[in-house]
């Protein structure tokens, strides 16, 4: 059965819809509760993982290096859950890194603006202009976050297979529609799409294993073979290749590792000025 990812401009709302859809489908439900286990596994603060999913890197917040590292840890854990199938996933930005998998049904829930205004004003009654400004700012922040992290604008409707506006459609109808859509042929898992998911999950595991030492690493997997791309100076190539092969090779599902070292032109230029 297809995997369902839910994204929304309202956290409580997407949770309600996601849990109800999972119950109706008999699926598992996964959200940021898994971050506790991710934090324990990698020895990082859980609060930082939550922050990573909310804020772009900044000098006063999470550094760029840690932001990328934490995202890799979150992706690794999420992909492992999605691999098991029959799951509704929310709040882990999965819709941004499982694109290209045909059996993932990506849904965006748009809150009723009046209810959303109530949510963000926390019971106060600010002016319409103030609420509109706050909503626009929130959207800008999310757009910037998703573009920084994945070069995808998560507020763009074309990212999703379905967009449901709760200003027009009741939550009951929304859940019914989601359940019905999971039965569409187009979202049926196929051997090809299951392999794509498996490859992504393996690439995620390898990347998470390498991120501590090689924050710029890119990984692609095909079956049990992985290709790792990173940058290095000429003199570092051999040592770096050996380390990457060892670390990636330690992962049981990996049978072959190809390392592609690209020239680090910035460091080379920096060194030439010394």
């Amino acid at each position: 059965m297809p995997v369902v990812t839910l994204s929304s401009d309202s956290d409580p709302l997407s949770r309600e819809i996601a849990v109800r859809a999972a119950t109706a489908l008999g699926y598992d439900y996964v959200d940021r509760e898994i971050l506790k286990a991710v934090a324990e596994r990698h020895g990082v603060p859980e609060a930082d993982l939550h922050k990573t999913l909310e804020e772009s890197p900044s000098p006063f917040g999470i550094s760029s290096k840690n932001h990328a590292r934490y995202l890799a840890y979150i992706e690794e854990a999420t992909l492992a859950v999605l691999l098991k199938d029959n799951v509704v996933c929310r709040g882990l930005a999965a819709h941004l890194y499982v694109r290209g998998i045909s059996h993932v049904l990506k849904i965006r829930i748009l809150a009723d603006p009046k209810k959303l205004a109530g949510e963000i004003s926390s019971g106060r009654t600010p002016s319409f202009e103030k609420v509109s400004a706050l909503l626009k700012r929130r959207e800008r922040v999310r757009r910037r976050w998703s573009l920084d992290a994945y070069r995808v604008d998560e507020t763009d409707p074309s990212v999703y297979d379905m967009v449901i506006s709760l200003a027009r459609i009741d939550p009951d109808e929304a859940v019914k529609t989601i359940v019905e859509t999971t039965g569409y042929r187009k979202f049926k898992p196929m051997t090809y799409s299951l392999k794509c998911m498996k490859d992504k999950a393996l690439a995620g595991r390898v990347r998470a294993a390498l991120m501590d030492r090689f924050p710029d690493v890119r990984v692609q997997a095909d079956g049990s073979s992985v290709v790792v791309q990173t940058k290095a100076l000429e003199r570092e190539k051999q040592k770096r290749t050996e380390i990457i092969k060892k670390l990636a090779g330690d992962i049981p599902e990996v049978a072959a590792v190809e390392v592609q070292i690209l020239p680090d032109i910035f460091r080379k230029a920096a060194e030439s000025f010394r």
Partner: protein, 154 residues
């Protein structure tokens, strides 16, 4: 009652048939292999097949057209698309039209075996793994197919 799965393989590259026909025979599936889509469709018009495995991109006809014509003649037949040009869009298109499964080349014969077993089960066949005999070089187990209840008139 046992009967063999009737499978038709269509791929305009002869090497594909040469590799897959013996691999499928090892697991007890009799396969008719074609490189020409028109000849394959003529055979499909003459005879009922349980499963059709077809390449997606062929010079004379694409797999979508083959898929449509197979399902028009026999909606029961499970069509499996194989292709070296797999993309999300093609996979979804094939599924939307009615393909049973979609697999990217290169794939291992065992991958196709698993899909054939899945298709057989979907057709109502009971599929049992029989232990490999000594003639099987790779230890592939044969599959035994019991007739589905609604196939008795065929």
């Amino acid at each position: 009652m046992e009967r063999q799965i009737r499978l038709l393989l269509l791929d305009d590259e002869p090497i594909v048939g040469k590799r897959l026909v013996p691999a499928l025979a090892k697991i007890g599936v009799e396969t008719e292999s074609f490189t020409d889509p028109e000849a394959a469709l003529q055979q499909i018009a003459r005879k009922d097949f349980d499963i059709v495995v077809t390449d997606f991109r062929m010079d004379k006809m694409d797999g979508v057209e083959v898929l449509r014509r197979v399902l028009q003649k026999s909606p029961r037949t499970k069509v499996i698309i194989i292709t070296g040009y797999a993309t999300l869009e093609i996979a979804r298109q094939a599924l939307a039209i009615g393909a049973f499964d979609f697999i990217a080349k290169p794939f291992k014969p065992n991958d196709l075996r698993n899909i054939v077993a899945k298709a057989a089960r979907a057709l109502g066949f009971k599929v049992k793994d029989k232990p490999a005999d000594s003639s099987s070089a790779h230890g592939d187990s044969k599959m035994e197919f019991s007739d589905p209840p609604d196939a008795s008139g065929r």
